[in-house]
């Protein structure tokens, strides 16, 4: 898979020896011609094409015999009949010819380019193979120093000119593609790229460690020609497309723009906008209120991407794998032509688990590195471009201009199970008070009553052992420790045998994992233990907490009152509660919370 891109040279050699002999789904005939060594590429290409589920049969031309191979109508390459011809021209071999030149630099240059184009045209006149022509890596020998650039006849200038000519000639021939080896060399750095011992001993045009990268580049171009490629990028919003959380920070509070903390996101948006202009469809898949999620696109002037750049916009609280399937269906494209960008490891893992076809790159922790990491994966290879391509996203947007309906999760439960989540629930403790007050101040979206208790008030609740049940929940999963992520405060009214849920809030980072179900089960258990008969609860609407408007209805509470300001009251008989299924294990002892204040293990 592209995403793994395990490109360790010795590792691939080992993999090549163990390559399964069972037939793969598809096969491909490759020919390699080079003025440098080509044998080392054979195991690389077998492994890397194998990862794409292709068997390859490889024809190797003789060393430094490109012209002999193509000029002779009886040569093996024509009998072989390749689908793809890989032509490798090395700057080292060109250098030898340059040192031995007996003609002017101009003649040297035009002879070099015509050798290359003649090779293509001969190959194309026999069969119609796809030709992957390497360009030349810029030489490190600078005879004039920087002044090389000022001298048209310097070797540096000749190589740079030849590369332009190769590109220009390839543009004239639809089945010739440039294998941009120069880009690879400058990416890894030419100091590391060139191992001239390997040229002396084995005529390898680069250090052996970089051969997998060249081979993967060849595979990437070939796969684009075989119809594989990313057509659509599905984007998360908060902390992926902008910094911060729009539901909390507001459309003008999120970080986006050419300066400051928003710059990395601004740069990603610029990159995505270019992809969109090229015909890659952009879609949004975000856990947010739809009304909030669109606001930065409409109102924040730092945004490069506008709503019309997004072909399908999905913002809801459903799980992402289901939403991505819906996006694929709406656009009528294959899941294997989609890439998904999300800063959240949980979401990436969920998508990988449920829709393994979707390409899910690891995003680095630092947003400043997002574009670099994506570029390294070379996800957006193509074999054609036309003006119709550029219009595609807009057409798709018009077609998909309908809201995506809700649907239920299927085997999402299995996924939750695989997360190996553990939760620790207990009364407020003194050490937690700082974090508790902070979460109470900051939570906007998943917050039923949005009452901003300060630390002293929290401390008072902690100490009110008989009358108050102030709970925190901390979550861990196999990815790590999420810390304290939810707070539930209940008051105990013994006279009416009622538990009053006065506060319920949770960090949106842990949505749809069953934390709220776990806590509701827990709260009702506590009510039973205290011999309480009813639970009452309140929802107070704010500009930001619409997502939990029906929270208590989900658990079977009846709405018993609605006030003119929108505040609603809810009630449930303890004996009527049906415990919810959860996939989180408890880490702390649950009993005796009322008796032993603040004690947790």
């Amino acid at each position: 898979m592209l995403i793994l891109r395990d490109l360790d040279y010795l590792g691939i050699l080992k993999e090549a020896r163990r390559l399964s002999q069972t037939k793969r789904r598809r096969s491909l005939r490759l020919a390699i011609l080079g003025d440098c060594a080509t044998q080392q590429f054979v195991p690389m290409l077998r492994v890397l094409f194998g990862r794409e589920d292709y068997d390859v049969e490889i024809y190797e031309g003789n060393f430094d015999a490109i012209e002999l191979e193509v000029l002779n109508p009886e040569s093996g390459i024509y009998q072989f009949g390749p689908d793809i011809v890989i032509v490798l021209n090395s700057v080292q071999s060109l250098r030898d010819k340059f040192y031995e030149r007996k003609t002017s630099s101009e003649e040297f240059q035009s002879a070099a380019i015509s050798r290359i184009t003649r090779t293509w045209d001969l190959l194309l006149s026999k069969h119609r193979p796809v030709i992957l022509q390497s360009n030349f890596v810029a030489p490190f020998e600078r005879i004039f120093g920087n002044y090389d650039q000022k001298i048209a006849s310097s070797f540096t200038s000749i190589v740079s000119h030849l590369n332009s000519r190769i590109a220009a000639e390839a543009r004239k021939r639809s089945s010739v593609f440039v294998n941009d080896v120069e880009a690879l060399a400058s990416w890894v750095g030419r100091k590391s790229w060139f191992d001239e011992r390997m040229w002396s001993i084995a005529k390898s045009f680069c250090a052996l460690d970089h051969l997998p990268l060249v081979s993967q580049n060849i595979v990437d171009i070939a796969m684009a020609n075989l119809g594989k490629g990313v057509k659509c990028v599905v984007l998360d919003l908060d902390n992926t497309l902008w910094g911060g959380v729009v539901g909390d920070d507001g459309p003008h509070g999120v970080q986006i723009g050419p300066h400051g903390d928003g710059e990395p996101f601004y740069r990603l948006q610029g990159f995505l906008k270019e992809l969109k202009n090229r015909g890659i469809i952009l879609a949004v898949c975000s856990k947010n209120e739809h009304a909030n999620a669109v606001l930065p696109f409409q109102e924040n002037s730092g945004m490069i991407l506008k709503l019309e750049d997004i072909s399908v916009f999905v913002a809801n609280w459903e799980n992402k794998p289901d939403n991505i399937k819906k996006i694929a269906k709406t656009l009528n494209i294959g899941l294997d032509s989609m890439a998904f960008l999300d800063d959240n490891r949980f979401e990436r893992e969920a998508v990988r688990t449920f829709i393994p076809e979707v390409i899910v790159p690891e995003l680095p922790e630092d947003p400043a590195d997002y574009v670099k990491a994506l570029s390294e994966l070379n996800l957006f290879e193509t074999n054609s471009f036309s003006t119709e391509d550029a219009q595609r996203p807009e057409l798709y947007r018009q077609e998909a201009d309908r809201r995506i309906a809700e649907s239920s999760a299927g085997s999402f439960e299995e996924f939750l199970q695989s997360l190996d989540m553990t939760i620790e629930v207990g009364r407020f403790t003194a050490e937690q008070l700082g974090r508790i007050a902070q979460l109470i101040q900051r939570s906007n979206q998943f917050n039923l009553t949005t009452q901003r208790h300060n630390q002293a008030q929290c401390e008072a609740m902690m100490n009110n052992v008989g009358g108050c049940l102030p709970l925190t929940a901390s979550l861990k999963d196999r990815f790590g420790d999420h810390g304290l992520i939810s707070i539930v405060i209940a008051r105990i009214d013994r006279q009416s045998a009622t538990l009053v849920l006065s506060d319920w809030l949770m960090s949106c980072r842990v949505l749809s994992r069953g934390v709220e179900e776990f806590l509701m089960n827990y709260a009702i258990e506590q009510a039973k233990g205290l011999r309480l008969e009813t639970v009452v609860a309140v929802y107070i609407p704010t500009a930001k907490n619409a997502m939990v408007k029906e929270f208590y209805a989900r658990f079977g509470f009846d709405k018993i009152a609605v006030h003119p300001d929108g505040k609603s009251e809810w009630m449930l008989k303890v004996e009527d509660y049906q415990p919810r299924k959860v996939f989180i294990r408890s880490e702390a002892p649950e009993a005796h919370l009322m008796e032993s204040q603040g004690q947790r293990t």
């Binding site: 010795l10 080992k14 001993i201």
Partner: protein, 78 residues
């Protein structure tokens, strides 16, 4: 020096993918199946990685047996 020999033997077994390979100072390329000029440079790359050393071009081409390789590595490690 024994340590170098052991690590080198492991590297050679790994490169030629033969855990049972018997290696001593006198072992030459001819004694090992698959040890040709092509795999020789793969072995050199593996040894360079294992010991964090760098051979000269002349060393790569002049090593006649495993003993030479051990000595070359030993010289570089000082």
């Amino acid at each position: 020096m024994n340590d170098v020999q052991d690590r080198l033997a492991d590297t050679i077994r790994d490169v030629f993918d033969d855990p049972a390979l018997q290696i001593n100072r006198a072992t030459t390329a001819a004694d090992v199946e698959g040890w040709d000029s092509l795999t020789h440079i793969n072995l050199i790359v593996a040894v360079e990685k294992e010991f964090r050393v760098r051979f000269t071009t002349a060393e790569v081409t002049s090593l006649k047996n495993v003993g030479d390789l051990i000595d070359a590595v030993g010289r570089k490690l000082g």
